[in-house]
Amino acid sequence: MNVELCLAWMLRFSELVDAEADRLTALDAAIGDGDHGVNMRRGMQAAVAALGESPPETPGSVLVATGRALVSKTGGAAGPLYGTGFRRAGKALTDTELASAAEVGAALVAMLAGIQDLGQAAEGDKTMVDALAPAVSAFEASAGEGLAAAAEAAAKAAAEGAVATVPLQARKGRASYLGERSIGHEDPGAASTALLLRALAEVTTES
């Protein structure tokens, strides 16, 4: 992954978030407070703008800049969580100009660790972690087959992970306030994480 591909990833993520904002908001309205789509759109628009204003030179700095923009523009739970995740992922790539599939995998591992350090959510708590954790595992398992294949596997796992949050009872975030009533709804953060991995799969297949 070079800097262009990483920029394309962020751009595609922003596009997908924009296209799916209403769905993300509706998911959040059901078990949260109805702002996740709007938040993510605002955050990723700010990230894309920041990336456009001072284009970074390495994939790592793309992710760090994205993380910084998300922290300072998103708000809510998702802002600090995604923001920290992106920054950690970016830092894991150090100043590599061309990250291998294995290095991208390590960055995703760092992203997950950052989100879990901050949010303290375990798998099964019905959060974005339930999409990201299986995605990271799938990515690592397929990393030997190249970036596109690994990304495709990760996207599939993330999408499945998001859907698999439906029967779960939330133990973190706003949805946890609903107790058993959180069961039967897809977690909005898991849904946006699935978009993040889908974006990666799309840009890597195209390239």
């Binding site: 309205a29 109805g34 709007v38």
Partner: protein
């Protein structure tokens, strides 16, 4: 969706313009989205800052002023503010005696305030944080994000603000705020859902004869759905829930709060029931508030907040306050 607004995405910015126009005692930093006292921070006084998503007006901006908050950081509707913004509020409140962050216990608020506190410390501003979590509808266990911060926030802002005004140091101001939180519990009931402007539709649907019991302040459904019942029963449900969690006795401070669309005449009807529930349980009311203090956009409903104040806390409660939404003694 019928709202007195111009465009859903501009509600917070425009409401801040309105606040600035309405209240010459407030300074509104539109770029950073910070509401602070027009006079700036008081040197040598502990700064008291709160913030969180908008949609709960008058909380928090309406509580900025003498004897209460120094600055507030209003996020987008129901979305916690961002760290830079909270840092700007912290700076606006900084009188070189440290700044207290009063944070409602929501993941987003807690995380963004934590990041802001780190930024503030980089700038040599000492920050103490008290997290408010008074909502008995949520069990405080490893199976939840912990109890939500609701009505106790108003009490904590008042008491901490009074302590800071009287010259108490940061640790002391944090202590009384934490004490208020420890001694206060709340429970809320919705008669209707609310509509987040950018969402355009309600978060849940309620039948003509249904209510949501154990709601927070973000338009989320409550712990369970119930039947619409006389005010007496809804109030008893709320009071019983508070009492089960923190047995009430002696003398209390109580707030009967409207969720935004419930008219005052109904709040008084409900408060009559609160007063008689308390009387029936041998509890006396030291002080009370009846009105819209911590709302949830255009939701109809109420929450009740009860604080078992010590004499010290009650004295701080009685101290003069001069803010748009709470004013006495000057």
């Amino acid at each position: 969706m019928k709202k007195l607004i111009n465009a859903p995405e501009n509600v917070v910015a425009e409401a801040l313009r309105g606040m600035a126009a309405a209240h010459p005692d407030l300074a509104v930093d539109h770029e950073n989205r910070v509401v602070s006292r027009a006079g700036g921070p008081t040197q040598g006084k502990v700064g008291v800052v709160s913030g969180g998503g908008s949609g709960h007006e008058p909380l928090h901006g309406g509580f900025v002023g003498y004897g209460m908050l120094d600055a507030a950081a209003p996020g987008e509707i129901f979305t916690s503010p961002v760290p830079d913004q909270i840092l700007a509020a912290t700076t606006a409140a900084n009188g070189a005696a440290g700044v207290l962050h009063l944070v409602k216990n929501y993941t987003g608020d807690v995380l963004n305030f934590r990041m802001a506190a780190e930024l503030a410390e980089d700038e040599d501003i000492e920050v103490a944080t008290v997290v408010i979590n008074d909502d008995v509808a949520v069990e405080d266990s490893t199976y939840t994000a912990g109890r939500r911060g609701v009505g106790a926030t108003v009490f904590a802002e008042k008491v901490a603000g009074a302590a800071a005004e009287s010259g108490t140091d940061l640790a002391g101001v944090a202590r009384v705020a934490a004490e208020v939180n420890d001694r206060t519990r709340s429970f809320g009931v919705a008669l209707t859902p609310c509509i987040v402007p950018t969402a355009g539709q309600p978060g849940f649907e309620l039948g003509e004869d249904e209510v949501e019991l154990g709601i927070g302040i973000h338009g989320e459904p409550g712990r369970r759905r119930g039947k619409l019942a006389p005010a007496r029963e809804l109030v008893a449900h709320a009071m019983d829930a508070v009492h089960a969690d923190m047995p009430l006795s002696g003398s209390v401070v109580v707030m009967l709060n409207g969720m935004g669309a419930t008219p005052l005449v109904e709040l008084y009807v409900a408060y009559a029931e609160v007063a008689s529930w308390l009387e029936g349980h041998g509890v006396t009311v030291a002080r009370n508030l009846v009105g819209n203090y911590i709302t949830s956009l255009d939701m109809a409903g109420f929450s009740v907040t009860v604080g078992r104040f010590t004499d010290e806390l009650l004295q701080l409660w009685d101290a003069p306050v001069q803010t748009p939404a709470l004013r006495w003694g000057r």
